[in-house]
């Protein structure tokens, strides 16, 4: 509550309570990393030490990277999330522009459809899409991981809201210069909408890097596994209690997003809060 100075004891209470919460929030991360550094006999010891007495990091990380092709899974994750985001921009930004700035018959219907589709959770339509891909022979392909998410009604909605605020003069000037509508989308609107596109990008990448439900259904080949599938595989099909390598794998899987988050905290919070609109 701004403009209100806390008394010294209240400041202390604030820190105590928040620190207690911080311990609860961060404990799993600390234990994960600490355990990934511990040799087997320490993990299974009857006594608990947070810090490793002897370093076992090399064997744990070596195990994690060789027992399953973890780096390959990370590459798959990068390919899939990048492809999804690129196609989302290509498909949804022009539609959002048309909805925001052009007048045409069926516009209200189209926007209504976007709003209705916003309410559909993807788990609800995963089953029919699975059957569709089954008939098309698309299961177990990168396409199966990417295609269902190329349409993002949430992206259309978000970009449309942003485009509404872009002045019409900008578009008129471009038209007078003889620019095509498609040219306007990519050379006038998209550059003006970079903050919104970045926020949407963060939302999209976080959601699909972490997604487990759809990849679990859509692919069965180890070669196509994304990081979440990979680590679940290591837990469920490997030695479920080989906690050292398992914690090393977990550390590797969450590291890219966590590092990116720590570098650009503000943007991440913005991007994820946008999902507040989506849920």
């Amino acid at each position: 509550m701004r403009g209100h100075r806390l008394t010294a004891p209240m400041r202390l209470v604030r820190h105590l309570v928040l620190l207690l919460g911080t311990v609860a929030m961060l404990a799993p991360f600390v234990l994960m990393v600490a355990t990934s550094f511990k040799p087997k006999e320490e993990i299974f010891a009857a006594e608990f030490h947070l810090l490793p007495q002897r370093l076992g990091a090399a064997e744990n990380y070596h195990e994690a990277l060789t027992q399953v092709p973890l780096l390959h899974f990370l590459l798959n994750g990068a390919i899939v999330t990048a492809a999804i985001f690129a196609l989302q921009v290509l498909v949804n930004v022009p539609a959002a522009y048309a909805l925001a700035k052009l007048r045409f018959r069926g516009r209200a219907t189209l926007f209504g459809a976007v709003l209705v589709c916003l309410l559909i959770p993807y788990q609800a339509i995963a089953l029919p899409i699975y059957i569709l891909f089954y008939w098309l022979g698309l299961l177990n392909t990168y396409a199966a991981l990417v295609l269902p998410f190329t349409i993002s009604v949430f992206g259309i909605f978000l970009m449309r809201q942003f485009f509404l605020g872009v002045p019409d003069d900008l578009i008129d000037a471009a038209r007078i210069d003889g620019m095509s509508e498609y040219g306007i989308v990519w050379s006038v609107m998209a550059p003006a909408a970079i903050p919104a596109i970045v926020a949407f990008g963060i939302f999209s990448v976080v959601a699909h890097w972490n997604d487990y439900f759809w990849p679990l259904i859509a692919v069965g080949d180890l070669g196509l596994y994304t990081p979440p599938l990979g680590i679940a595989h290591l837990k469920l099909n490997g030695e479920g209690t080989a906690y050292g390598p398992l914690m090393a794998a977990a550390t590797i899987v969450i590291a890219p997003l966590v590092l990116a988050f720590l570098l650009a905290q503000r943007r991440f919070v913005e991007g994820i809060t946008f999902t507040g609109l989506k849920g």
């Binding site: 209240m10 604030r14 928040l18 349409i151 919070v269 849920g279």
Partner: protein, 290 residues
């Protein structure tokens, strides 16, 4: 501004096409499938009317599963919303270590849930898990959090709460920033100087729309609980942690009973849409009052 007909088609066609193929079409298919006996790979399909829905009413697994899901939502939503609000208020109350605290609370939201679920599984191990070491240190008996029928659902609730507090906190922080400081000044003139009365007079009423909004979103997310269940308990022991999405997954991809699974998805969808209806209602009211 009139776009040429051709322009509009070029701009919207990919999105419209994909919307039909991946959203509208599947939704209609889903509803249609729920009235059939379709099984994946089976050569025939026939219309069975409401038989799937009928079967559901007598299916113990479904009953337990819906019950567990509702309990999960009923625990995770109030606790994580209250903790999120508390964290937001405390962090916002002073400038010191603001960035550090919000990053710490937000980290679980970002981190791959399936990986963190596995970490929790390790922490809750009855023999070597850190949580049980802590319990023993305080003189309690160790607990088998994930294999005790009475405990397992609450354990999953705990992980769910851990993961969503930061998300709610961020929504509340945004809500707090939007409160004009003149309101606090006006309240101070009216004699509300202490934290408690300022909260009751200004903060809480001003946050009401955000609160309702946060409750609905958290409820929708809680209804979709799946990852933790699938990797930690597989719905067990003895269905004690069976939840709706996990039951659907098992019916569709374990037993390949697509028709029945589709009917279950329709039920799942009805729950989500009911919650969304509240959200739309709240959004509308927010627009009218602002």
């Amino acid at each position: 501004m009139t776009g040429g007909r051709l322009n509009v088609v070029l701009l919207t066609a990919p999105a419209v096409l994909l919307m039909l193929v991946f959203l509208v079409g599947p939704l209609l298919c889903l509803i249609a499938l729920s009235f059939t006996d379709y099984q994946l790979g089976a050569p025939s399909i026939s219309f069975v009317g409401l038989a799937n829905y009928d079967e559901m009413t007598g299916d113990d697994t479904v009953r337990i599963s819906i019950g567990n899901t509702l309990i999960y939502v009923a625990i995770v939503v109030p606790v994580s919303v209250a903790l999120g609000l508390g964290a937001a208020l405390l962090i916002d109350a002073d400038g010191s270590l603001r960035g550090f605290y919000s990053a710490a609370y937000f980290l679980p939201v970002m981190a791959t849930l399936i990986a963190m679920a596995i970490v929790w599984g390790f922490m809750l191990d009855p023999r070597i898990g850190a949580v049980n070491f802590a319990l023993k240190a305080f003189g309690f008996k160790p607990l088998d959090f994930l294999h005790d029928r009475k405990l397992v659902l609450f354990t999953l609730c705990g992980i769910g709460i851990w993961q969503s507090v930061g998300f709610n906190m961020v929504l509340f922080m945004a809500g707090l920033t939007a409160i004009p400081s003149e309101l606090y000044e006006a309240a101070a003139i009216d004699g509300a100087r202490r934290g408690g009365s300022r909260f009751a007079l200004v903060t809480w009423p001003m946050l009401a729309p955000v609160t309702l909004f946060t409750v609905v979103i958290t409820a929708i997310r809680a209804f979709q609980v799946f990852d933790t269940v699938q990797v930690l308990t597989d719905g067990g022991p003895n269905k004690a942690s069976e939840v709706l999405l996990h039951t659907i997954y098992a019916e569709a991809f374990g037993y390949f009973r697509v028709g029945y699974a589709a009917a279950l998805v329709v039920v799942f969808l009805v729950f989500i849409l009911a919650l969304s209806a509240i959200r739309v209602f709240v959004l509308d009211r927010g627009r009218q009052t602002s």
